[in-house]
Amino acid sequence: MKPTRKVVGNKGRYTRTTAERRTAPISKYGAPARRLNLRDVGEVDIKLIHSFGEQALDPLVLKQLRSKDAYTLDMGLDEVKRQVTDFGERFHNLRLATVLQVLKSGVLYYDANGNLLPSSSGAVETHSFQMNANNQNQCNGIVTASWALQNTNIPLQIRLLRQRARRLTGYPLTTALYGENIPTYLSQNEYIIDYLARTPTMRDKMMSAGAMEIPDGLFGIDKWVPVYESFYEDNDGTNQSLWAADQITFTPDVNESWWEIVEGSFEVPTTINIVSDAEQAMRSLQTVYGAFGYGVVTHNPPTVIGYAGDTFIPALKVADAIYQMDVTP
């Protein structure tokens, strides 16, 4: 989640390269050198997600509120602080939900009012992150049988996936973000039961991981991360799960070469006073990257308006680096 790059405005561009994995041809000793190809190079444009909201606070009402703890009149500052904090939290939640949604499906859906949707149902806007269909669902033949079946060779499927990842991008898969059904499938699988019975260290890890979570290191995956608790409350007040029960997303170690959190800029006013000319007015704007906020007082009637927003994108620079697997075809 840590931002790694800043761009001006809401767009950016980065260079895409691929590592060399071919072998060199041999030559006869003493012969002239053979000219060899350079690697391809590409560029990728990105358009950042932007959110901008406001909330109005009525000082005439707030001023009569008392603080929550001491029950003294405090001009409603306690309440203002709470409202401002919660208001900002919505933008933080958007970032978090966006990151998880990109890792889960590689596509973002929004309704007509710009609300994030958990699926394409009702979507008016669809924002693509260029996921390869071969890296989704059953990952083009990796999941040959459902993990819900106890006799499925799950360890082999994981090994084949790791092999493919190495060949496709060179990034080794080290992390698995998983849904709530995955520990159950693993703990009931015949291959894994046998393995755990013969591997006390891994078995003990599974027992001590709590609530039968998957121990780190199982089948060469360094980190198994449960993400099934993630959710957000939609505009109707309904909790929407951010992760599917049968899904695992496998990723390499977080690295700027394939994943970045890019923040864009927004011009935030620092004054609404009259200034000498347009140049001074322009100079009064402050360039803020990522999350921003500011407040304004209007006078008729007196109102305090808080503005907040964010400009960011989880840049999945190498979409082929991750695998969004549905283990129950």
């Binding site: 990105i46 358009k47 950042l48």
Partner: protein, 235 residues
């Protein structure tokens, strides 16, 4: 004061990749001093799908007689054999599109069909009059050529560029349109006149041996280019 333009909704766009091609087998080659100019309006690489305005390394280039500017020698390659008397020849849809763009939808003797009558036969440059081009199927309606042509014969313009004198050298290609997509004449600074060529890297390198010889003898002659072709060495 230009700005980076990224049109559309938020998200990651598809990558635009520049692919490098090498045509020289080794580092011994020569370029013509001062270089030449490519005529952007008639220059396209129809086989470079998605980037036809970028002339790939290995594309054969000839000189337009009237202007001294350079253009691609081969526009199309026939997909089937032609029997004398026939009224159609067929190329790919992309090549048909380029024929219409560069030469027109019809013309009298404005195309050439270059090829032998039979496999490995004597290559003939035959004038071609055509009346229609289907850019979906690639079918060109022609007046009978009067001779047979093998599949894989070349379809070219008749402006002088049909005789290849050089080719686009190693690199990512040469773009012949500006940022607005308009044709522009561009420099051809690295104009190969000698070197050892990886024959298979020549764009539209034919399978017919006499067409291969035709390309070699045009590129490499007594008074012009001096090229060596690696396929002649059992490679």
């Amino acid at each position: 004061m230009s700005d980076l333009q990224v049109i559309g909704l938020s998200g990651i766009r598809a990558a635009r990749t520049a692919s490098h091609r090498t045509i020289f087998r080794q580092g011994d080659y020569n370029y013509l001093a001062q270089g030449k100019i490519i005529h952007g309006a008639v220059a396209r690489d129809p086989g470079n799908t998605g980037d036809v305005n970028v002339l790939r390394a290995g594309l054969l280039m000839g000189m337009i007689s009237a202007t001294g500017l350079y253009a691609p020698s081969l526009i199309g390659v026939t997909t089937g054999a032609y029997t004398s008397g026939g009224t159609t020849i067929t190329v790919s849809a992309a090549q048909a599109t380029e024929i219409v763009r560069r030469v027109g939808s019809s013309g009298t003797a404005t195309l050439r069909v270059i090829g032998p009558p039979t496999a490995a036969g004597t290559v003939a440059v035959t004038s071609c009059t055509f009346s229609a081009v289907d850019t979906t199927t690639g079918i060109i309606t022609i007046t009978s050529l009067g001779v047979d042509k093998v599949a894989g014969s070349f379809v070219t313009a008749a402006d002088g560029s049909q005789l290849p004198l050089t080719l686009i050298p190693d690199g990512y290609g040469i773009q012949v349109t500006d940022v607005d997509g308009s044709d522009v004449d561009v420099s051809f600074p690295q104009f190969p006149i000698s070197g050892v060529i990886v024959s298979a890297s020549i764009v539209n390198w034919p399978s017919d041996t006499s067409l291969r010889t035709w390309i070699r003898t045009n590129l490499s002659s007594v008074s012009q280019g001096k090229f060596v072709f690696d396929d002649l060495y059992g490679i």
